[in-house]
């Protein structure tokens, strides 16, 4: 229940954060208006707007697939939160194969995007979906390989185990390369800028989501923000020690707040990038994954293995 | 409790569906998908026997793992060939790809 509650609230918080942060960074006045002081009611306003909109299914669309797609995109991100530890004892499930499970489940949302793009009967949607599929498969590999290095160092696949293993020092200090690869790859997995070629609004409108309106579109947005929370949480567990605090004063604050703080900081970082970087071109994007990230991740794994054997 | 025979029947049905798909579907991509179905039916059998024979050597699971790997390789090559055929012949209907048939 806690997990579900967290999932239902956290993405909205992140969505709100995105509004406000971008408004500040770009000096936009819109999100500052709603509700008087500093635009606090923007989130409520957005919600009301989405519910009021007409739910349109295009005539040529494949209505079953069209309707199911938002759910297929969203469900994986809910399923992830079942295994992410938010405190030493605050987790829903401690799977032996936690990190592997998480990475497998995130891969499912690609299918939802493909379904959405194809069922919309719109060529821009289809192009967007195909771009998304190519990109997500390409960046899945560095994501997994970067996690493998952490798993090798921790000696366990369980997320709770990995958090516990970082009792003395966080893995960002021993795996800086892995952390870099993981963050870049998760940006691409989320199709966030600068890797937002699949939804590039200036050339293919909004990719796979073009034909969606009202609540269905809100589902996609929620899935995107849920994805930001999910990947921030995974990165926190893998590289920033999860619920482990910093050495001296760490135990003064409960683990839950450490974890939330780290997730919030990473989410802020991801939003920050949107206001900062231009979009990569499709071929540059693929090239970056296959030529730069994957060899780097493989080298990282090799070095980790050698060091681990030597230290032993 | 599930008994082993149920699982065997189940995978036999899946396998038969796969065979029928390979023989009756004309779309090359769907033929490949039916082959995947057959391979998966076999995997169910392997894992089931592994479980019921209490095999501590995990032979069934290891073989299922190899089958999955080989299936992945097969799909990669198979789909590349399908795209190649489409590029040359403008069709992926296996009936119309008959250059080597006389």
């Amino acid at each position: 229940m806690i997990v579900l509650g967290f999932f239902l609230t956290a993405p909205m918080g992140i969505g709100y954060m995105e509004h406000k942060v971008l408004a500040h960074m770009q000096h936009r006045l819109g999100p500052m208006e709603a509700g008087g002081f500093h635009g606090w009611a923007q989130l409520v306003a957005d919600g009301v707007k989405f519910i009021q909109k007409e739910d349109i299914i295009p005539k040529a669309a494949d209505s079953w697939v069209f309707t199911l797609a938002p759910a297929v995109v969203m469900v994986p991100y809910i399923a992830i939160f079942a295994v992410i530890p938010f405190g030493r004892t605050l987790w829903a499930e401690n799977l032996d194969i936690g990190i592997f499970y998480v990475l497998a489940i995130t891969a499912i949302s690609v299918i939802g995007i493909l379904m959405a793009g194809w069922a919309s009967a719109n060529k821009f949607s289809l192009i967007g979906a195909l771009r998304a599929a190519a990109q997500l498969i390409a960046y899945e590999l560095p994501l997994i390989l970067a996690s493998v290095a952490v798993v090798m160092q921790a000696g366990t696949l369980s997320l709770v185990g990995i958090s516990e293993a970082q009792h003395h020092y966080w893995y960002i200090f021993t795996q800086p390369v892995g952390f870099f690869i993981f963050i870049v790859a998760s940006l691409a997995e989320l199709t966030r800028p600068p890797f937002d070629m699949p939804i590039a609004d200036s050339e293919i409108i909004f990719g796979a989501y073009t034909e969606y309106t009202g609540l269905k579109f809100a589902f996609f947005l929620l899935a995107e923000y849920g994805g930001i929370v999910a990947f921030s949480a995974i990165a926190s567990v893998l590289f920033l020690g999860g619920y482990q605090g910093i050495p001296v004063i760490g135990h003064l604050i409960p683990g839950f707040f450490w974890m939330s703080g780290k997730v919030g900081a990473l989410a802020f970082f991801i939003i920050w990038l949107r206001a900062t970087y231009p979009r990569l071109r499709e071929d540059q994007l693929q090239r970056f994954a296959w030529v730069a990230l994957i060899p780097l991740a493989l080298a990282d794994i090799m070095v980790t293995g050698v060091v681990k054997v030597l230290v032993k | 409790m599930i008994r082993l025979p149920y699982l065997l029947f189940f995978s036999a049905v899946l396998f038969s569906a796969g065979v029928y798909g390979v023989l009756a579907r004309r779309n090359a991509v769907l033929v490949l998908m039916s082959i995947e179905l057959m391979l998966n039916a076999v995997n169910v059998n392997l894992v089931a026997f592994n479980a019921y024979l209490r095999d501590a050597a995990l032979t069934g699971q290891v073989f299922a793992l190899f089958v999955i790997t080989v299936a992945a390789a097969e799909v990669g090559i198979g789909l590349a060939i399908v795209i190649l055929i489409y590029r040359n012949r403008e069709t992926i209907n296996v009936d119309e790809v008959n250059l080597l048939k006389w």
Binding site: P58, A60, V65, F100, A104, A107, I108, V110, I111, L114, G117, W118, A121, S125, L126, I127, L130, R131, A134, I137, E140, D283, Q286 | M1, I2, R3, L4, P5, Y6, L8, A12, L14, S16, A17, G18, Y20, A24, N27, V29, L30, E36, L37, N40, V47, A51, Y52, R54, Q61, A64, L65, I68, T69, A72, A73, V75, I77, A80, I83, L84, Y86
Partner: protein
Amino acid sequence: MADWIVFWVIAPVSIASAVAMILAKNAVHSALLLIVNFFTLAVFFLILGSPFLFVVQIIVYAGAIMVLFLFVIMLLGVDERESLRERILGQRWLALLLGAGLVVEVALAVRVGVGFGHGGLPDFTRVNRGGNVQALARVLFNSYFFPFEVTSILLIVAAIGAMLHGRRRIGDEETIDAPIDERMDEPGPEPVPAAGPAEATP
């Protein structure tokens, strides 16, 4: 008891999705139904004591293979008029007959081999000593080390082969403005404005 319920819920879904996948007119629907089928099989691996294969099934099939299938189907376009065509005389009846024959044969084999009274699901504590992943790794990297390496070589060869098949001849491309030697060999999404279930309404 729990696994009994899971079996009788999941197995019909699994078989129904498999049969619907074979009979579906639309190739994309077939692929989506096959994904459902693979998920049900993943659940079977879970109740058969192999959480590792459960995850592998999801990550390899749902995450990679089926995305590849959908990708290719959408790239080539869906041809509605092609569907099921039976090439052998009376194929459907022959198929049903042979299918029934297979079921009878399995039944006989089971009866001779283990018998229908064979007990339920064993516990997996002895098999999965020290965790399923650890047990599997122990077997894989000891007894099956050589096959493992051979399979990895097979995968690399397959990847290179697929890449070579998929690449277009240099000079065919007109969409990318980079110099020739910087072009990618990997086929990204091609600029074909085709497919979708139907033409977009104007």
